[in-house]
Amino acid sequence: MADELKFPTNGVRRDADSLGESLSALIRDAYAPPGGEAYWPGLEQRIMARVASESQVETGWWSVLAPWGRPALIAAAAIFAIAGVINQQLVDTDNQLAYESAFQSSTPDVVSTSEEIMSLERGTDGATLSYFLSH
């Protein structure tokens, strides 16, 4: 029916092409939730129960630690840097000790070699050795 297309109701914008009010009412009724008005407080409660549940998840015990996250990261970075410096110093010290120990252990050998040379020079082959050392 042509007049079915021209019922402006419920604040719904209607134009000449709109569905008729009776058809709109049928669809509205078909898409209404079960339980009539009593449905809405229940839906609100269920929504808010989920919201509260989500909020609890958001504010779990671990969230207490959240404010400490940044300072903890800075502290960890500082500790890491200090540890690195200390480690480097230990390595340097070890190298120095190794070098010194190597140097000190070789000194008597040099001395003994010199002494050996001196004693050899005094031996029978002294002339030959003197020849090699001078060339």
Partner: protein
Amino acid sequence: MRIPDEERALAEAARKGDQAAFAGLVRLHQRRAYLVARAIVTVHEDAEDAVQEGFVRAWQAIERFDPSQGFGAWVNRIVANAALDITRRRKVRSTEELNDALQSPFRDPAQDAELKSRLSDALAQLPERARSVIVLHDIEGFTHVEIGEMLGIPGGTARSDLHHARQKLRTLLQDLRG
């Protein structure tokens, strides 16, 4: 857009974490949100899931909401997205399910059963988006632009879908209307 003072105050309080204020927003907007979801998913249980999910997402994102904008439009878009997620997950929706939904025992028993059956069949024959558009526009009064934002399509496409959906629905229900 003129935002009612009550809604603005509730939105600002909710942004600061006030759950009671958020409950006030839910109370104000859950009906429209439900109808938006129902227009998209058609089945009551899915519509409720979409509404719950939509409001939970809105709560999680409330810090990003601009109180100078309408909370209803914002939450309806989120609910529509949640409903579209559900339809994507359950892509195949049988006519039987729609019939069951429309002939739920919660409906007015005085309603003409044959008319409802015909209507449910006709709606089921519409493409999913066309059905959503026709319900959102002709039943809920959303504009083409609002519908486009909710469904992720241009406003012009919503207008075109609406025109074709009306034509098809009229054709399907021609004998009833005559």
